[in-house]
Structure formats: C-alpha cells, structure tokens
C-alpha cells in the first residue's frame, strides 16, 4: 500500500518558446484522498494532470506518482506505470464502434488480462457505475452522463489505486454533473485516490473536499476542505508532504 500517492516538489513545465505552463508546483496527496484541482480555463489544471500520468514531463523539479519517479522513468516503463492509473476525460474518449461492454473490456484486453478475468472486471465496473442495464448499447445510443459513467468504468476496470479525471462534468448538465461527482465520491470511499480537475463550482462546493487552486501555472491555494473560488494571490503555505 502506497502511503503518499503524489509527491511533486518544485515542478515547472516550460514549453518551447519559453511559455511557462507550470511554475514551481509543490503538491502532496496521500493515498485515499479526494482532491479537486480548480482554476480558470488555461490556468494549468490539465497540464498538472498530464504531469501525473506522464503525458508531459516536468522540465524541472521532481514528480513521484504511485511509487514511480516520473522525472526519471524510462519511456518503456510508462505503460506499466499507467496501468496503476485510471484516466477520465471531458469528451469521454469512448470508441463509437464498440459497445459499452467492449469499451470497458478494451482496457483489460490491451493490458493482457484473461477472458474470464476481463469478464469479471467489466461486470464489477459496470455495477460500480450503475450501467449494468446497457452493456450492449453503443455510445451514440446513451446519454452524456451515461457515457461518462462508462468512461469511469473503463478507468476503474483495471482496479487502479488512483483515478484522474480532467473536467469530467464539462459536457454535462448540473444534475448529471452532480450524479457523476457523487459516483467519484463513492469510488473514493472504496479507497481509490481521486484527483479531479474542474472549473465547475457547484460540484466542488457540494463535496467540501480538499481543493488545490491553480492560477497562471502556480498553486495559489491548498485547502483541506474548501470551496471553489477564483484566487488571484499565491497562498503562503501550500500543503506539502512531510
């Protein structure tokens, strides 16, 4: 069992041309936590999440996630590392030519799970997200909320210790958004670390969980139990690992 799920120290990310996407970010997330990363569009929330699944590499500082040092990880080890994560996107990322069941089974299949193992895991994931009634439907035949539930099921099907969601309610109405965030809360209650990047204030306020605010690539607030609000100044002491 990993105690510290995420440990970021002084991480910065600068793109070619000198554009700074993240500046000197410190962040510590313990195993089993639920964290909202909030901030306005273009603040660097998604970039911070990309650091977590090694979609981007920090140009300076260290990033440790689920026991792996992502600052020095070899590219060939990235697939193994990603098997310990579940990732959800705003646009769901479902394959339109595959059914709900096949979309979820896609993850264990590509990571080499056996058929019986895949069947068991898909069934459990469908049950967890409340989608057992539409396993044979295609993405176009279900609602946006249901598509996001399927995407969450696919992220969870390999039973990762951490779930990363980038604007999971961005395309959904308020009621459906609330349903999705409650699902994420339920997943977290079962022990999975959940990191959600969002600018959806009502869902952040509804849960009163840890909130890390990012503005212009910097962490400006880190509240153990907070609300969504747009910050303009850097806080004095962000919560860092001991």
């Amino acid at each position: 069992m990993i105690e510290t799920m995420i440990e970021i120290k002084g991480a910065s990310l600068e793109y070619e041309g000198g554009v700074a996407a993240l500046k000197n970010v410190d962040l510590c997330v313990e195993s089993g936590e639920f964290v909202f990363i909030v901030g306005p569009t273009g603040a660097g929330k998604s970039t911070l999440l990309k650091l977590l699944y090694r979609g981007e590499k920090a140009t300076s500082g260290t990033v440790r996630v689920a026991g792996s040092d992502l600052s020095s990880i070899h590219p060939r080890d990235i697939p193994q590392f990603r098997r310990r994560l579940g990732i959800v996107f705003q646009d769901y990322g479902l394959l339109p030519s595959k059914t709900v069941w096949e979309n979820i089974a896609f993850a264990p299949r590509v990571t080499g799970a056996t058929r019986s193992e895949t069947r068991r895991r898909v069934h459990d994931a469908l049950e967890m997200v409340g989608m057992t009634h539409r396993p044979d439907a295609f993405p176009a035949q279900i609602s946006g909320g249901e598509q996001q539930r399927v995407a969450i099921a696919r992220a969870l099907v390999n039973e990762p210790p951490m779930l990363i969601a980038d604007e999971p309610t961005g395309n959904l109405d308020p009621d459906t958004s609330l349903g999705i965030v409650q699902l994420l809360n339920y997943i977290n209650s079962r022990g999975t670390t959940v990191i959600v990047a969002t600018h959806d204030a009502p869902i952040v306020d509804s849960l009163q969980r840890r909130v890390v605010a990012v503005v212009a690539g910097e962490v400006v607030r880190d509240d153990a139990q907070g609300n969504y609000r747009v910050e303009t100044a850097v806080v004095e002491e962000p919560l860092t690992c001991v």
Partner: protein, 275 residues
Amino acid sequence: MSIAALGTVTVTLTVLGASLWSVYRINEFAQQQPQTFNEIDVFLRPDLNRDNATDVESRLAKLPDVLSVHLIPREQAWKDLTAQDPTLTVAMPDDPLPDAFHIDTADARNVQRLAVLIKDRTLYPEVERVTDAGSEVRIMLAFARLVKVIGGSAAAGLFVATLFIVYNTIRLTVFARRREIRIMQLVGATPWFIRLPLLLEGLFHGVAGAGIAGFIILLFARQLTLFVNQIHSPLIGDVPSQATPLKMMASLVVTGAFVGLTGSFLSIRRYLRQI
C-alpha cells in the same frame, strides 16, 4: 482506403516485378542464344606453315573465356567449300584458303573483347582476319543492357514509390485510429501491442499486392512467351520456358513483405509519437 491502397500497391509492384522480370528474362535469353554468338573464326596468313598454326593454337587456347580452339586446316576448308559449292572452286587453280581456327567462348558478352584482342597485330602477327557474330549479338546485348538500366532504374523508383504508398497508408490508418491508439496508450498498452496491428497491415498490403502482381506478371509473361516462340528466326532460339515462376513469385512476395514492413515501420515511428 485499404482497397485503394492495396490496388495502388498492386499496380506499382506489378510494374516493379515486370521490370525485374524483364531484366532477368533478357539476361537469361542472352545467355541461352545459339552457340554461333559465342564463336570466333580466326584466319591465319596464307604464307604460314602448320607449325606456326599449332603455335598460335596453343596461345589462343590459353586466353581467358576460351573454351576450345579447333584447327581447320586449309585442305579441309577447301574440301568443305568445294562440297558446298563446286562451281565456286572449279575456276581456282589452287587452294587459296589459309589455315583457320574455330574458337568457342564461354560467354557471348566477351566475344567482341576477345576478337579485338586477337586482331591485335602486335600480339598475333600471324593472324590476318578475325570474324565473330558481329553486330547482331552486339545489338542484342546493347538492348539487354538498356533494358537492365531502364528496368533497374524503374524498379528502384517503383520500390521507393511502393514504400511511400505503404508509409502513407499506415499514416492514414494511424490518424483514423488515433482515438483508439490514444486510449491504448493511456490504459497502459505496450508500444508493441499498439504497433503490431499497424505493422501487420503494412505487411498485408505488401504481401497481398505482391501476390496479385506476381499472378498478373506470370499470366502476361506466359502469353508473351507463347507469342515470341511463334516467331521462327535463325537469330533467336526458343525463348526459354518459364522454369522459375515460383522463384519469381517468392522474390516478389519477399520484396512486397519487405516494402510493407519497412513502410509501415517508418510511418509508425514517425506518426505514433504525434498522438
């Protein structure tokens, strides 16, 4: 897209295979022409005696590419000529013919070089005249060389074109499947799990295209051979039967597989990174 790509690969491999096949067949054809193309006749000066002739014979026999040297004594030549056309020799009081040699060479392509060498007065002062198969064989060999150069260049160009077609096809496949590939990358699929289907697709295009192309070439070559064999000419012998269709088909399929794999590998290497 796949059918269009397969069709294009087939067409280019057909032309590629046909070029190589033509080069191969013309080479084979040149090798198997009547023996007269491999022969040189050497006529000595009439004033020389038999001992001189024997000396020249032994020197000629030592030349490279010379298979055999056969002395035709002047008496024998006169006898043959008389038998061939008695009216021609009746008016001649005496035998005017010189001793001669009939030389068989190993390769028709070296006949001209050998003939020039024997004509050299400083090396063979005893020789008065040398005849070989002459312009016919030279024209034929020049044609064979031309086909080789043009066919070889066309084959090289088509090889690159086929490579590019497969490269482009796989690039389009990568873009068409980018969503699927992105998901595979994010759920932890290994790079080879992602690459293998794309490599197999490239391989399929190459092998299937080559197979169809080989079939088309064999069919066409068979018809062409039948047509050429209907032409009775003293200049050309029978076009050799297609003893190696399997070999040609195998070569083409191997080439297709190589092109398919290389094209898809290069494409994957470049475009998978961009997803």
